[in-house]
């Protein structure tokens, strides 16, 4: 059986754990609370006021003025996430982290049955609560899809186990957008075909789905039936990342070209640095631009070779930016490199295009940063408008955003 352990309002709960006086009170985790930005996470006490992740801070303040606004700290959350993984490993060796606050676990032996897996899930919930003081919701099912969807049935501190029959009984009458992997746009397209519920999708003709959605059409139908054969990949085996990126909400909307370019250079530098430190190169450079009306524009370009060089990432990001930007005010910028390969493998393909001199310079600056920290050396152009720059969170972009297919 598969378990999905989903930590309840993880970032907010960690802050409440670290600051006991905030427990039981509305708490909102965000970037710098003095600057604008969006809600990263809201405690369960803040949610009844309508506050949710992704909402502009200004709106969250209006809805819940009594909330405490806390600047998020990724290192804190990663530290606890690693402790959670250690805890899960006491129950099974097969643990696949799905995000900083979610992990799939495969349980066998007494966990081979739904009832046995539920007992293990209860023990995990108890251990998470007693040892770390946190709440977890667990979904149990015969595959990852059902386990994932079961976690959404009852929160917080919920425990929902579903057989394929339970899945069909519960989800088939529900809107198709509730199916894991179906976003609002895909749901609209399905609705336009007369597919309104998960059950409609499960009963749809495979040929018509394939005609409308290509290869993912039949996959969607399988998912709607509760079928999923995606293997669980234990984290000790490691999974290569597919993309690495950084994005930043600007402190103020800006239409200043120099400032926007400086921000792109800073983001490109961070992405390049991360690619090199983790040993990857990529061929796809993608740009994300959100305008003042909250409309998000995405564009990407494929390079003829692999790169981990911030200048090359920046040049391509700039080129994309020039095609996307029409001179209006920009709220958010993001740069991502996708199509990753381990650097060793990628460099074999690039044997004759390596720029040795540039490479040596990069290695030297990397060594300085390794020793003295990230801010010890930065590209001069990234300092344009420095006083107005907000911080750039570390880590990949959210899973929900992927570069659009070209």
């Amino acid at each position: 059986m598969i378990l999905l352990v989903d930590m309840d309002a993880f970032f907010a709960s960690v802050e409440q754990l670290h600051h006991p006086g905030l427990r039981g009170k509305p708490l909102i985790v965000c970037g710098d609370p003095q600057r604008r930005g969006v809600v990263t996470a809201a405690s369960y006490e803040a949610r009844p006021f309508g506050v949710h992740a992704g909402m502009p801070l200004q709106e969250a303040r209006r809805l819940c003025p009594q909330a405490s606004f806390v600047e998020g700290n990724p290192e804190k959350y990663v530290a606890l996430s690693l402790r959670l993984l250690d805890l899960y490993l006491e129950f099974t060796p097969d643990v696949e982290p799905f995000s900083v606050d979610e992990a799939f676990l495969a349980v066998s032996g007494r966990g081979a049955t739904l009832e046995g897996a539920v007992e293990i899930a209860r023990s995990i919930q108890r251990a998470v609560d007693e040892r770390l003081g946190l709440g977890a919701t667990i979904g149990v099912g015969p595959n990852k899809l059902i386990a994932k969807m079961a976690t959404g049935v009852h929160k917080p501190r919920g425990l929902t186990a579903m057989s394929p029959e339970d899945f069909r009984r519960w989800f088939w009458p529900r809107e198709v957008r509730e199916l894991w992997g179906v976003g609002p746009k895909l749901a609209e397209r399905l609705n336009a075909l007369g597919i309104v519920t998960v059950g409609d999708l499960a009963r749809a003709a495979p040929a018509s789905l394939e005609g409308a959605f290509g290869v993912i059409g039949p996959q969607l139908r399988e998912a709607a039936s509760g079928h999923d054969e995606t293997p669980l990949v234990p984290y000790h085996r490691g999974v290569d990342p597919k993309s690495m990126g950084h994005e930043v909400t600007l402190p103020e909307d800006s239409d200043e070209a120099d400032y926007l370019q400086g921000t792109l250079l800073r983001l490109s530098d961070q992405v390049g640095r991360r690619l090199r430190s983790e040993g990857f190169r990529g061929r796809v450079v993608a740009l994300k631009l959100r305008d003042r009306d909250f409309v998000t524009h995405l564009r990407q370009t494929t390079l003829p070779h692999f790169t981990d060089d911030h200048r090359e990432i920046f040049q391509n990001a700039c080129r994309l930016w020039r095609t996307l930007w029409k001179g209006g005010e920009v709220r958010l910028l993001g740069v991502t490199v996708a199509g990753l390969e381990p650097a060793e493998k990628a460099s074999q393909a690039e044997l004759f295009t390596t720029h040795t001199r540039d490479g040596l310079l990069r290695d030297a600056t990397d060594r300085v940063r390794d020793r003295l920290g990230e801010s010890s050396l930065v590209p001069a152009g990234a300092l344009t408008g420095r006083s107005r720059m907000s911080h750039v969170p570390f880590g990949p972009l959210t899973k929900s955003w992927k570069p659009p297919a070209s």
Partner: protein, 82 residues
């Protein structure tokens, strides 16, 4: 309310089972007793790893302390007083 301080402080510590724990620190001319460590994490800065502690004071107020092995030195990063 959270207050960002980033002030150097003297901290009395103990190594307990191989782990560094702050016991008391001096701030604004008074000694604050650490009732409980509520959280700890670390951050890499260059080749050094800085250790952070969330600690609870005697009156349920909380503080964030940072140990920097380069000094070595301690910094009171933040205070939260409800």
């Amino acid at each position: 309310m959270f207050e960002t301080l980033n002030q150097p402080v003297d901290v009395l510590t103990v190594y307990l089972e191989g782990r560094l724990r702050p016991l008391r620190f001096r701030w604004k001319g008074r000694v604050v007793r650490v009732k409980r460590v509520t959280g700890e994490w670390s951050r890499r800065e260059g080749s050094h790893r800085l250790a952070y502690f969330s600690v609870e004071g005697p009156g349920a107020e909380t503080y964030e302390l940072c140990y920097d092995p380069r000094g070595p030195s301690w910094t009171l990063c933040k205070a939260w007083s409800g």
